[in-house]
């Protein structure tokens, strides 16, 4: 059984990755893990972009450009997030997200 992968398959993978990311973001208490979940969400979007580009507008490169941009931004975001996490660790000796609760109001 040899099925040629189509748009549908890629979208399924994107959706699965997206919800794994959401789940991880909402349930993990470790900030590093949460950051990784966010990366998963971003990558699921990347897959969608690429898939739409390839199957619906094959002659263009718009989707690929967006993907490249998102990867760049994800890198920058990771740098910022990790800086925040390090600062939090320095002040609270923990990277558990619940210790940051006191910053409410």
């Amino acid at each position: 059984m040899n099925v040629e992968p189509g748009l549908f398959h890629f979208l399924v993978i994107g959706a699965v990755l997206f919800f794994i990311g959401i789940y991880g973001f909402l349930t993990r208490r470790n900030l590093i893990t949460m950051l990784m979940s966010v990366e998963l969400i971003l990558n699921s979007v990347n897959i969608n972009f690429i898939a739409f580009n390839k199957y619906l507008w094959p002659g263009t490169l718009d989707g690929s450009f967006f993907t490249v941009f998102i990867i760049a931004i994800a890198a920058a975001e990771a740098a910022v997030a990790i800086a925040i996490i390090i600062n939090l660790f320095r002040s609270h000796q923990s990277i558990n997200v619940e210790v940051a609760e006191e910053m409410k109001y």
């Binding site: 909402l26 349930t27 949460m34 940051a100 609760e101 409410k104």
Partner: protein, 636 residues
């Protein structure tokens, strides 16, 4: 006509106010007075130029009002716009001259009189503000503009009366003056609204044209049997009566004597109180077509005020208070003269003439009183007496002014009072007799004052060797003294009349016999009672009994107003309003606050600080938005 000059006349005092008010002490120190006086001098010269220019222009056979400039200040659309402009006509030219002249004299006089005051520069700043407002008032070209300056005059007089703000009496007097005139201004404001709504314009000249046109008069509305025009004019008159201290709103003027004496000369004798007379004169063409009721309201209130204030003046012992009541009385003369209409409009000319001469001799009286008060350090007549030899200059000018106000020829007051009386004789006999009696009383109380100050008993501080006053004080007195002698010879009717055409008012010598005779009688009576110290005044006072006591207490008008304010205004309006404010308004305001607060307490918990909770809210939000979007737009 030079427009720049007209604009500069009020602006120079304003400039002096700004300069001295902002940096007076630091920039100029003791020179503040000189700066202000210089500005005033230039203003005076310009005003003379404008007046001479205007009256010297004989190209038309009548003097007509000219709007020199006018620019739209507040255009509201629908044809309603408020302009700022300058209207020059005979009374404007006259007032420009009078106000700048008196103000200049007061400025010079104060250089010596107010010397060494802590707030010397502030005093001059306030004088500048006051003069600016008064000048702005007289050149106003429309009702709204005159109202603005009218209120400015009120504010600056408040500041000047309360100049000695450490004194409780001065503070109370300042507040009283402000509140009473403000109260009257309510009538003025409503009057302005009525008149402008009727005429569809605020501009004076257009107002006269619109309201006297046959189309308007045939279609004019009525309210309670009286035409709307007359209602508006009566309301405007209430404002004028407040500013000009007409009965029963005269109570603020005598108390306003708490201000520095030169200020009394400026505000309460010469310029501010005539603002009301000026306003009525400005709207004279309208008053002359109004119903007889309005005219007789003006003339009867004026006449009653004249005799009422004269009676009080006879009993007062504070010299400034006597002068204040005499001012009230003389303003009454001007007012009733405006109210007595006749074919030839002699009343208008006479009233303006009296305004002119009165300004000069009353300023002289007040400034002289200032010199005397400085000399004896008291306001009370009993502390004076026998000053004739000590203060020769003051004595002579004071005598001149007293003769002028009593109406003895050939001094200024004679000519103007004569015209007023002649007009009353021709058109309203009862008022003529009231005015005649008032003339006698005027002569009596002025010479009572004169004899008590300068003769009566020998001066008790013998050989003190004090100086009468510095030259800065005496020179204005002399200038005003010369004015008092000469002002009556100005052929006034040639220049100022209701229709702008020269008005020849011959002096009828036979007619003059009565008023001059009764004035002489008053003087003789005063001389008999007060020339030598005696017990005659007390005996006479006892003879009048209750009546004397009532007059001495100013007929209890102050008490009546106080009772009215406390009993009626406070209880019926003040307290319910306060209750309403405290219980209804406050509840609403506080309720709005506490409702917001409790709502905030309720939803505060949502802001938990848990990042993942926020993420969840965010997710649900997205899901809801996306599903709404899909369900509504999905069909496409």
């Amino acid at each position: 006509m030079n427009t720049t000059n007209i604009i500069l006349i009020p602006l120079l005092p304003l400039l002096s106010f700004i300069l001295l008010g902002l940096g007076g002490k630091r920039l100029f120190g003791d020179k503040a007075g000189w700066i202000a006086s210089l500005a005033m001098l230039i203003s005076f010269v310009l005003a003379c130029g404008v007046a001479m220019n205007y009256f010297g222009d004989h190209s038309a056979d009548a003097y007509v009002g000219k709007v020199v400039f006018s620019f739209p200040w507040l255009p509201f659309g629908n044809g309603l716009k408020i302009n700022m402009g300058a209207l020059v006509d005979p009374i404007t030219s006259l007032m420009l001259f009078v106000v700048t002249f008196i103000s200049l004299m007061v400025h010079i006089f104060s250089l010596a009189y107010m010397k060494g005051e802590e707030r010397f520069h502030i005093y001059y700043a306030f004088l500048g503000l006051f003069t600016f407002s008064m000048l702005g008032l007289v050149i106003s070209s429309n009702l709204f503009q005159i109202y603005i300056f009218w209120e400015l005059v009120g504010v600056s007089s408040f500041l000047l009366i309360g100049f000695y703000y450490q004194k409780n009496a001065a503070l109370a007097a300042a507040k009283k003056a402000f509140i009473v005139t403000r109260f009257a201004d309510l009538g003025f404001l409503i009057g302005i609204l009525v008149l402008s709504a009727e005429a569809n314009t605020l501009d004076f000249q257009q107002l006269m044209i619109n309201l006297s046109s046959p189309e308007y008069t045939s279609a004019a509305g009525e309210f309670m049997g009286i035409s709307v025009l007359s209602w508006g004019l009566a309301l405007v008159f209430i404002g004028a009566a407040g500013k000009s201290a007409m009965f029963p709103l005269h109570i603020w003027l005598p108390d306003a004597m708490e201000g520095p004496t030169p200020v009394s000369a400026l505000i309460h004798a010469a310029t501010m109180v005539v603002a009301g007379v000026f306003l009525v004169a400005r709207l004279y063409p309208l008053y002359s077509i109004a119903e007889v009721g309005v005219q007789s309201l003006i003339s009867s209130i004026g006449a009653f005020t004249a005799i009422f204030a004269a009676l009080i003046a006879c009993t007062q012992t504070d010299i400034k208070r006597v002068l204040a009541y005499s001012t009230v009385s003389q303003i009454g003369f001007m007012m009733f003269s405006l109210g007595i209409m006749s074919e030839d409009h002699l009343g208008y000319t006479a009233s303006m003439f009296h305004l002119f001469t009165h300004a000069i001799f009353k300023a002289l009286l007040f400034l002289a009183a200032g010199v005397i008060i400085h000399y004896v350090h008291s306001n009370e007549m009993q502390d004076m007496g026998g000053l004739a030899k000590k203060m020769p200059v003051t004595h002579i000018v004071f005598l001149l002014a007293c003769l002028a106000i009593a109406g003895i020829p050939p001094f200024a007051g004679f000519f103007s009072k004569e015209e007023i009386l002649l007009n009353a004789w021709n058109n309203n006999r009862p008022i003529f007799f009231i005015a005649l009696l008032t003339s006698g009383l005027t002569a009596f109380y002025m010479f009572r004052l004169y004899f008590s100050i300068f003769w009566n008993k020998p001066h008790h501080e013998q050989g003190h060797g004090k100086k009468e006053g510095s030259w800065f004080e005496l020179i204005p007195l002399m200038i005003l003294g010369v004015g008092t002698v000469l002002a009556g010879f100005v052929p006034f009717g040639e220049y100022v009349s209701a229709d702008g055409k020269p008005h020849h008012a011959p002096i009828d010598l036979q007619f003059s016999l009565g008023p001059v005779g009764i004035a002489l009688l008053g003087i003789l009576l005063a001389a008999w009672m007060y020339f030598k110290a005696s017990s005659k005044p007390e005996k006479t006072a006892a003879g009048f009994g209750v009546f004397y006591k009532a007059a001495k207490h100013k007929f209890y008008i102050d008490e009546i107003w106080l009772g009215f304010t406390k009993g009626v205004l406070f209880n019926l309006i003040g307290r319910p309003a306060a209750w309403f404010d405290r219980n209804v308004i406050d509840t609403l305001v506080k309720g709005a606050g506490s409702a917001t607060q409790s709502a905030a307490e309720g939803i505060k918990g949502m802001q938990s600080g848990k990042v993942q909770q926020y993420g969840l809210y965010f997710l649900f939000g997205i899901i809801i938005i996306v599903s709404v979007f899909l369900f509504t737009q999905g069909g496409r």
